[in-house]
Symmetry: C2
Subunit: 474 residues, 2 copies
């Protein structure tokens, strides 16, 4: 199998080369992955990508083909030999999949030798950015229609094959029920959904005949009723054919409407199905759906049981990139990890220095999360005492909590290069997500204008940051 180790930006290798030549390659460094704004103006994001990160890291090595290619780029042989023997030997802490996360807090923390930490940057960002984006988009939709069946139909519009495959998985984590992509079903043990296309009706050139043939060979059929005219020919044909079959066989599971005015047609369809005695037959709709069109369908009291969602989910159409970054926050000097900062004219782009822990502060009374508390790695929190947290700009503004307990949002994934995390199955991840989401107040889950969730600093971390800023402002 081909390694994924060259799935990295050239500058990572150029920096590795400098560090190696400068004998800095064993220096420890801490990088963290975070993003600056919740996607889709949502109140939170859903972390995903850990399983894929592990797949990548477990296979991280430069094989002979990799080295031979790098040789063509004119690196010295001593460096190539070093790379040929390189393994990942660092520590990684990460949110687990399905975890709720927020802007500006570390999602993944890499503590490793400088070269190793740098070489894995591109792939880790590539993975976390996409998986987290799609899981978050799916979560927004799930929040609007928690009682409906949600089907992921995006493969044909996904941005190449990996996106179709891993995107389907991300939507399942956030509560979707099935995907159309067979490979995702096989690979991740996700339920599959799908019936027939318009072409199937066109082949028989007659809706009745097409439905009849389909029902002959399948159970629980969903008939696609909009090839010619949904209300005038599609639904009547579906009803007529369904009546030809033994009611015990229950062939007529659903109709699917894939074009036209879904609100109007679904309401008319419901009446027609009910009048014909098919009260249990479901209505599935699709056609460029996203959370905005679904919200509008709800407001119009459309009669919809199930949504098939493709393009706008699998590409995160209205914001197709999370914008996650991988920033150096600490570097080893004299055997200690020293916090470092990157300054910017834009305050939101100033990094948060230091190796950190992030704690979710949960109100014991309501069992609801009140905020996330970022502390330096060596701080110990005494849950019996009030906890004060500072916002990023001024020590004058703070919030104080008591009667709380805390949860570290990260788990150890790798220790000294060894995987120490038991990969859960997909159902466990999916359940964990529901549990994590239940800690949030509803106000943070609103799909438009959510209440702001606070991710703030310990006093120590606040001071570390502000001292470093002052140092560079001089």
């Amino acid at each position: 199998m081909k390694t994924l180790s060259l799935h990295t930006d050239l500058y990572e290798i150029n920096m590795a080369y400098s560090y190696f030549k400068d004998n800095l390659h064993h220096k420890k460094a801490v990088f963290e992955i975070y993003y600056r704004t919740n996607p889709f103006e949502n109140g939170y994001a859903v972390f995903a990508g850990l399983e894929r990160m592990i797949e990548y890291l477990d296979s991280f090595k430069f094989d002979e083909d990799d080295i031979n290619y790098l040789r063509t780029l004119d690196y010295d042989e001593d460096f190539l030999e070093y790379l040929a023997n390189l393994k990942f030997t660092g520590n990684i802490k990460s949110c687990i999949e399905g975890e709720i996360c927020f802007a500006n807090e570390p999602l993944v923390i890499v503590e490793a030798e400088l070269v190793q930490a740098q070489l894995i940057e591109t792939a880790l960002l590539n993975i976390v950015n996409f998986h987290t984006l799609i899981a978050t988009k799916a979560s927004r939709i799930k929040h609007l229609v928690p009682a409906n069946t949600l089907l992921e139909f995006g493969a044909r519009r996904a941005q190449e094959m990996d996106a179709a495959l891993w995107g389907a998985r991300a939507t399942y984590i956030s509560g979707f029920h099935a995907t159309s992509l067979v490979e995702a079903g096989r690979r991740f043990n996700i339920p599959l959904a799908g019936t027939h296309a318009h072409s199937f009706v066109q082949v028989y050139q007659d809706e009745e005949e097409a439905f009849r043939k389909y029902a002959k060979h399948h159970k629980d059929c969903t008939f696609l009723v909009d090839t010619y005219n949904t209300l005038e020919s599609g639904i009547p044909a579906a009803i007529k054919v369904a009546k030809e079959f033994d009611p015990e066989k229950n062939v007529f599971s659903a109709i699917r409407i894939d074009s036209g005015d879904l609100a109007y047609q679904s309401k008319e369809a419901r009446k027609m199905l009910d009048a014909a005695g098919f009260k249990d037959t479901k209505i599935v709709v699709s056609n460029d759906l996203d959370e905005d069109t679904i919200a509008s369908l709800i407001l119009e009291q459309a009669k919809i049981d199930s949504y098939g969602i493709g393009t706008k989910l699998i590409t995160a159409y209205n914001q197709p990139a999370l914008g996650g970054v991988y920033k150096l926050v600490a570097i080893e000097e004299n055997n200690e990890l020293v916090p470092v900062i990157k300054i910017s004219e834009n305050t939101s782009k100033i990094t948060n220095p230091g190796l950190k822990n992030v704690y979710r502060i949960i109100n014991k009374k309501d069992n609801k999360a009140e905020g996330d508390y970022m502390a330096n790695y060596d701080e110990v929190i005494d849950e019996s005492k009030p906890l004060r947290m500072y916002n990023e700009t001024t020590p004058l503004e703070y919030k104080e909590f008591d009667n709380y307990y805390i949860q570290n949002i990260h788990q150890d994934i790798y220790l000294n290069g060894k995987l120490v995390y038991d990969k859960p199955d997909i159902e466990t991840i999916r359940s964990y997500h529901m549990k994590a989401l239940s800690l949030l107040w509803d106000e943070h889950k609103r799909y438009k204008f959510p209440a702001k969730y606070y991710v703030n600093y310990s006093e120590k971390l606040f001071n570390i940051k502000h001292d470093l800023i002052k140092k560079y402002q001089k």
Copy 2:
């Protein structure tokens, strides 16, 4: 190696099952891939994805693992045995990569047994939709700054790994000069670009020291000058370090500015570099660039030699899906291919029936393309006679050409399942694209409000379509 054959939607397999059980699986069908609107309101699109399609089709088979998984979905054994022995034996015509294409004309035409044609739908759309989208986005950017160096920097923001890899290739086809993604360089023989990150400066905690160390071990350095303050510390440090080196070694190839006001900073940077005697040192900029920000930089007369473009290119940020579809246009009846149609209330969604040829009509006087002419497959065009083409809605409107020659926009790729197309190398594809683009009038290439390019019908095709519409309107 794992097959890609399960990279398909479940409904394709369900339809295949019906066709097999109904003994229709050997019936010939014609499907075509097309999209309905040029992406980004551009005047054209750049076709890409053929190499990946061939990779997919050449490996198309259901192996034992595939069959075992499908068995869990409750298909009969006779069908599974049929799939286990299935090969692609059909014909495919396609635009070649780099070709200029337009809305509503077939980009890929699949003529194959019904089951085969249906099973490959999902993957073909997944591929063509993404590759064509990114090649088109890159072409828009290239058109604005044809004389500048264009670098693809998107891997970390791409929608998973395949998108990073194949996306980089698509941008190169459209005239980009290099990518940061090492794997793309190796796999496709594309030039690489990249120097160092902000973290590199942070590691040394001093820009001068970082640049000095970098220059010691690399040639033609690009120093990233915005870690702390571009004009006050970054550029002065770069200049100071560059002067320490032998001018013959030419270490100081470029600076890169990745934040802040790129127009202002680039102009100031140019003055500073020139004043210090580094007139040949280039200025590279990056930071969420796309064709709109680049147009604005041009209007401000920014002094920029090279653009590094990431997120907004690799995700096609402002329109992350092409929306290409795969529609049945003809079906075998009594050994003849009979055109079929899909009706829709929305006229733009009515399909164009029939197996077609599409000809680019090129004006001999100017050697410019005047329009694309869609004809039924059996029509012969006599280039010595005037050619009349009809728009899709009324026979009252037509255009007529003389003094023209024609080019079929498709080539034979597979004949009876055999690859008959010699895959060109990437440089040949890239050159072909430039040549194909040169046939377009500039008015169709404007990045905003391009003149409409006509893709119209032969009289015969117009009549086939309108006769079928009338049949279903009855």
